[in-house]
């Protein structure tokens, strides 16, 4: 007990005393001085009193107190200042050393800064896309409800995400509103369940029509997420109480900033959302991004009760009574003390009951199984797209960092050889080995710290470059990568790690210096072999890393080239795309078709527009639509859906897709004329292998009296969702013959420059309806580029890293060869004196460096062959062991090796024998 109290008192006292000593250093020094002087004075006085002469007394007093310097040193040591003082001295000395060779320091610092900056940038992106959690209190408690069906599940209509799992299973996170209400009532294992649906809508904010991302949320949404409004109030259960009522909205911080300039007068103002006027009652907190994802926030939150008014859907406008349509995301917080397993089995039983209560499953239909998933990162749909690319990028930047470390280590080693004498002198004068290693490590860490701060600065400047490379060119809401303490801590840790990584080996080797031997050594007896070997293995390591990076960059570059040369099947030049979404409230089924026909005619009349056609599906935009395709006289197949596009009559001319047989759509195809369709060659091959499909009829609906559609033509194949997949079977229907069409993407072919075309398009559409925004205006080429965004970003980044690797390897080879030549000056002089031709010397040095390069390239190629297999799915049009990339990479590295050693080799060949022999 006593001991513990003493220990605690000591633990409390020591840091306080140490800190006081550090902060009041000059006062401490003068106090020590005064105290010792006082002692001397009193002692002298006592000695004089005892009968000594003053001079004698002075002398004796000083003798018995001993050396004041040593005593003060002991006092400082008592206060724990020794380490601190040594560190300060090390830092001062280190700074002098770094400043003495500015060239060396700047190369090392610059390469470290580039490598650390690249790592920090990729890390901040990875953190944002793969690790950051929702900005709500206790995100770890959130559980998102999913269900898994076996392919025969009762759910047939879905609006939202679903993945086809293995063996025909379906995985989805959407529920019907009636099922949500049942689950919410029965649930006891999660805290209150919230529901939300994020969807893009047309908004008119301060007379400015635009597309926004709106979240329709249950009344308890903000309460369950525990998110207060930063201004005004959040949505309440009362807002969501009655269908069609509750025309209030909470806006995001971003919208408040962009459209209201953070004005406090925003409360009470109205905005039009799909023609419905809603009143703004509050602003969500700055970092809040909703429950769905971490990357970007919905602009507007409205109560779910508004769905029938704002976004009418289905037979009777309201999805809130619709038991068949599954469309809502449902989430809750785990109750304390309840395990995931317990909650999941309880909810599974409740889901089955809810489905039986709201739907009537047939005997051959099954009930889905409920699965609870972590909700702290929303639906984390970024994982699928970005996990692998980001891991590959992290590997790349990690290798670049390793390369930079090897480079600095190599430079330090070479310089260490020059400093060997200094170290020997210090050892001879009594410095401890640990002390010398510490001094060298301090220098390395200082260099790393400089590199780290440079890297942090680079990453900060470049923090928005990467996201802009990863998002669409026409998207105004680009991904914001936050620069926070997590990133800073990562960089700091990385910096220390690199400092130790590149500093330890040289420090260790130099620290082992034998004082006596080195002092006697001259260049003639230098133990070049051993030191040279270390430098050489580092260079081989560097060259193999560079080979790996260059080959990797080659693979990704060639993937982009291969994708670029894909024939899409239509003419993508001079095509402008934009979306028009008529709100269902103003344009119910039928009216929307007429509206699009009107817009199509108006645009076709614009001077300079050659062709125009609206369509359901833009090409190369990762979007798709499919419908049942049941030819007449064939037995019904269970899964007979084919990719479909509803298009204008001028579609094939607009896209320059050639007709292979039959006729094109034309003015004769109208709302009332016979229903027609065109199929592509793949569909003809797949579904009519032995017959001429023209004149054949099919249905797109299972109902008995559904209309028959006649095939009138066959067109050439085109790529559909993306550049990678082979052209799928497709069929085309005139949009004018559809009952209901909704959002369409317009394809406009014109030789006019885009900048002059867009305003006239806007004017034309505004003349028809001023509340209809033109959304996502982009050229078809931009659309294609966006579709290979990741591949292009990859090629750009990896080529950049490859170049960086090449230049680092260049510095490494040059350094080692220059050092080798300098050390062999004597030998080369003798060779020349004995009659060697300069060309022979040149060849000798180049041969030496080429052997190094060859060894490195061999190791690098082996590693590349092994690692390329892991990125196979990211490549296109080539194999992981692509011989072009491998051979080209190897040749490039060998050439760079030759160039880097050319200068040292020339210097060797230019040595004057007499000067070399005198040289010591």
């Amino acid at each position: 007990m006593k001991r513990l109290r003493l220990l605690l008192a000591r633990l409390a006292a020591q840091p306080k005393s140490w800190f006081r000593a550090i902060t009041h250093r000059s006062r401490l020094e003068s106090d020590m001085e005064a105290e010792l002087a006082n002692h001397l004075e009193l002692l002298t006085a006592d000695l004089i009193r005892a009968g000594h002469t003053p001079a004698e007394a002075h002398r004796n007093a000083r003798l018995s107190l001993g050396s004041a310097v040593a005593t003060k040193d002991g006092m400082r040591q008592s206060l724990g200042l020794r380490l601190w003082d040594d560190l300060a001295a090390d830092l001062r000395y280190g700074a002098r050393i770094l400043l003495r060779s500015p060239g060396f320091t700047s190369i090392a610092v610059l390469s470290l800064a580039l490598a650390i900056g690249a790592n920090t940038t990729i890390f901040s992106l990875a953190k944002q896309l793969l690790y950051d959690r929702l900005a709500v209190p206790n995100p770890g408690d959130l559980r998102m409800l999913h269900w898994v069906g076996d392919g025969k599940e009762v759910i047939s209509s879905m609006w939202g995400d679903f993945d086809a799992g293995p063996k025909g299973t379906t995985n989805s996170s959407v529920f019907s509103y009636p099922v949500y209400l049942q689950l919410r009532g029965a649930n006891q294992s999660l805290q209150d369940l919230l529901a939300f649906k994020e969807e893009s809508m047309n908004a008119t904010v301060r007379d400015n029509a635009k597309r926004v991302n709106a979240a329709m949320v249950s009344g308890n949404y903000f309460a369950v997420l525990q998110v207060p409004a930063q201004f005004g109030r959040t949505l309440q259960p009362a807002d969501d109480a009655q269908q069609g009522q509750g025309a209030v909205a909470v806006i995001s911080d971003g919208l408040w900033q962009r459209d209201f300039d953070r004005s406090p007068n925003v409360l009470g103002q109205t905005l039009k959302l799909n023609q419905t006027i809603v009143t703004i009652v509050g602003v969500a907190p700055r970092r809040f991004t909703g429950a769905k994802n971490v990357q970007s926030s919905p602009d507007i939150f409205i109560p779910l009760s508004l769905q029938p008014v704002v976004l009418p859907k289905g037979a009777n406008q309201s999805l809130l009574d619709d038991t068949g349509m599954w469309w809502l995301n449902v989430e809750g917080r785990l109750k304390p003390g309840v395990s995931d397993q317990q909650a999941q089995s309880a909810l599974d039983v409740q889901l089955a009951a809810a489905i039986r209560a709201t739907m009537s499953p047939k005997s051959d239909q099954t009930l889905p199984r409920l699965v609870l998933e972590e909700g702290s990162r929303g639906l984390h749909f970024t994982d699928g797209t970005f996990r692998k690319p980001i891991y590959v990028l992290i590997t790349f930047t990690g290798l670049v960092l390793l390369l930079a470390c090897a480079n600095v280590a190599n430079l330090l080693l070479a310089r260490g050889a020059q400093r060997q004498r200094e170290m020997s002198v210090r050892l001879a004068m009594g410095a401890g080995r640990a002390r010398i290693v510490r001094q060298l490590l301090t220098e390395s860490l200082m260099m790393a710290a400089l590199g780290g701060s440079g890297g942090l600065m680079l990453a900060y400047l470049g923090r928005n470059v990467l996201p802009s490379l990863l998002t669409n060119a026409w998207d105004d809401k680009s991904l914001q990568v936050p620069f926070d303490w997590g990133v800073f801590a990562f960089t700091a840790a990385l910096t220390v790690l690199t400092g130790i990584l590149f500093g330890l080996a040289p420090a260790w080797i130099i620290g082992r210096t034998d004082a006596g031997r080195t002092l006697q050594e001259t260049s003639k007896t230098s133990s070049r072999r051993r030191k040279g070997l270390t430098g050489r293995s580092i260079v081989i390591f560097q060259i193999s890393l560079s080979t790996l990076l260059v080959v990797g960059a080659g693979l990704f570059l060639r993937t982009v080239v291969a994708l670029n040369s894909v024939d899409v099947g239509f003419q993508p030049d001079h095509l402008l795309l934009f979306d028009v979404s008529p709100p269902a409230k103003r344009y119910p089924a039928g009216q929307d078709v007429l509206l699009h026909a009107r817009i199509e005619r108006a645009i076709a009349a614009i001077p300079g527009v050659e062709h125009v056609s609206p369509g359901w599906v833009p090409y190369m935009a990762s979007s798709m639509s499919n419908e049942t395709f049941d030819p007449e006289g064939e037995p019904r197949r269970p899964k007979s859906a084919e990719d479909v596009n509803a298009v204008g009559n001028d579609f094939f001319a607009t896209m320059h897709i050639p007709m292979v047989a039959g006729r094109d759509f034309g003015p004769q195809d109208t709302t009332t004329s016979a229903k027609v369709a065109i199929i592509n060659q793949s569909l003809a091959r797949a579904r009519f292998p032995h017959a001429n499909p023209i004149g054949k009829r099919f249905q797109t609906d299972e109902r008995v009296n559904a209309p028959w559609i006649t095939i009138i033509g066959i067109c050439a194949d085109t790529r559909y969702m993306n550049l990678r997949d082979e052209p799928p079977p497709q069929f085309f229907l005139p949009f004018i013959q559809q009952k209901e069409i909704g959002t369409m993407v317009y394809q406009v072919r014109s030789q006019l420059p885009v900048d002059s075309l867009i305003p006239s398009l806007r004017r034309t559409v505004a003349a028809i309806d001023p509340d209809l925004p033109l959304v996502d205006i982009r050229t078809q080429q931009q659309q294609i580029d966006a579709n290979m965004q990741i591949e292009r970003t990859f090629a750009a980044l990896t080529s950049g890293f490859g170049l960086l690797a090449l230049s680092l390897a260049c510095v490494g080879i040059y350094g080692v060869m220059a050092y080798s030549v300098a050390n062999r000056t004597n030998e080369i002089g003798i060779r020349l004196a004995l009659g060697a031709v300069r060309g022979q010397v040149l060849g000798m040095i180049l041969r030496e460096s080429t052997w190094l390069s060859l060894a490195g390239v061999a190791v690098g190629l082996a590693a590349a062959l092994f690692l390329a297999g892991l990125v196979k799915s990211m490549l296109y049009g080539l194999q992981p062991y692509d011989p072009v990339s491998l051979i080209f990479g190897a040749i490039l590295i060998l050439a760079v090796g030759l160039i880097a050693s050319w200068i040292p080799a020339r210097r060797a060949a230019g040595i004057q024998p007499m000067a070399a022999l005198r040289h010591e």
Partner: protein
């Protein structure tokens, strides 16, 4: 010189205890601590004056003594050390330990051959 021969070198590790004891009798400056130890010991102990101050600083660093600047006898500013509460605790504990140790040492050194139990 004959007086010197009677003096004893300080046992290792006992300086801290002596300082604590000296300061426990009232606040002292560094030289005062030296004088008081010599006075109590009847001038029988030799204290390396050079090691006195590092010891004082160490004890203050550990929080068992505290210091304050004040007037000395010769009307100079001097640093006075006094015992803290933690120091009191430490002093009593060290004293107890020392007493046990000295009894033990005494007994061991007094032992004769017959007193040692036979080892079976």
């Amino acid at each position: 010189m004959s007086e010197q021969e009677k003096q004893l070198e300080l046992l290792q590790g006992t300086l801290d205890l002596l300082i604590l004891k000296a300061v426990s009798l009232g606040p002292l400056h560094g030289y005062g601590v030296l004088l008081r130890i010599q006075q109590i010991s009847g001038q029988a102990l030799v204290i390396q004056q050079g090691s006195l101050y590092p010891a004082l600083y160490r004890l203050e660093h550990q929080g068992v003594i505290a210091s304050e600047w004040g007037e000395s006898d010769n009307n100079r500013k001097a640093k006075f050390y006094s015992l803290t509460a933690a120091g009191n605790l430490r002093l009593s504990e060290e004293t107890e330990k020392w007493n046990r140790m000295s009894v033990l040492m005494g007994n061991i050194l007094l032992a004769t051959a017959s007193a040692v139990p036979e080892q079976a």
